[in-house]
Symmetry: C2
Subunit: 114 residues, 2 copies
């Protein structure tokens, strides 16, 4: 496998609803871990783990500020994920189930891979 672990981690991070909600929060303002945890019915260690996953994917940056941990969004890794998915847009827009149709229109793009 040619593993693109960046992409693995980004998609995996986005696969959890709590983590997507955390990212949505951070898109509006930086926040402390406590502020991020408040809306959720889970313990702080659980949020801490989610933040570690998000940090591992590079989507969140944490910096200690006194006893507070301030978190901020870093959307940069999403770019690659967006680009990966974008290549399939032609399929969902034109109801093309297989590339036979696609190749009729774009024979030069045959080498497209992950």
């Amino acid at each position: 496998m040619v593993t693109n672990q960046h992409l693995d981690r980004t998609f995996a991070a986005l696969a959890d609803p709590t983590r997507r909600a955390i990212l949505a929060d951070l898109a509006e303002r930086d926040a402390t871990v406590g502020e991020l945890a408040r809306p959720f019915a889970v313990s702080r260690p659980a949020i801490s783990k989610h933040l570690r996953v998000l940090e591992g994917a590079g989507l969140v940056r944490r910096r200690r500020d006194g006893r507070l941990s301030r978190c901020g969004l870093n959307a940069a890794p999403m770019r690659e994920a967006a680009e990966w998915v974008e290549r399939y847009r032609v399929f969902w827009e034109n109801q093309l189930d297989a590339l036979s149709h696609y190749l009729e229109q774009n024979p030069q793009e045959k080498e497209q891979t992950r």
Copy 2:
């Protein structure tokens, strides 16, 4: 949690490199399970499991044709995923990441090294 299980399953399906490679294959042509398994150094049951995950996410359709199982791409579920990620484009395009956010709100700390 407001769980969007569609999105959960789509992102989770995309988080595995073998599954992304299968989708890339299917973007070029419909294929049987055996054809899909050939490039990979894993057993057919493993591919079968990956296909079940992809089917569960609605990304692959399987239909039995004699003793062959023909698989086809259905990119439709990627649309929602693409839309979700798209909302963050402004962040990765304008470098509105955690650090610049933070510095906008805390200009006195600009001279700190990282």
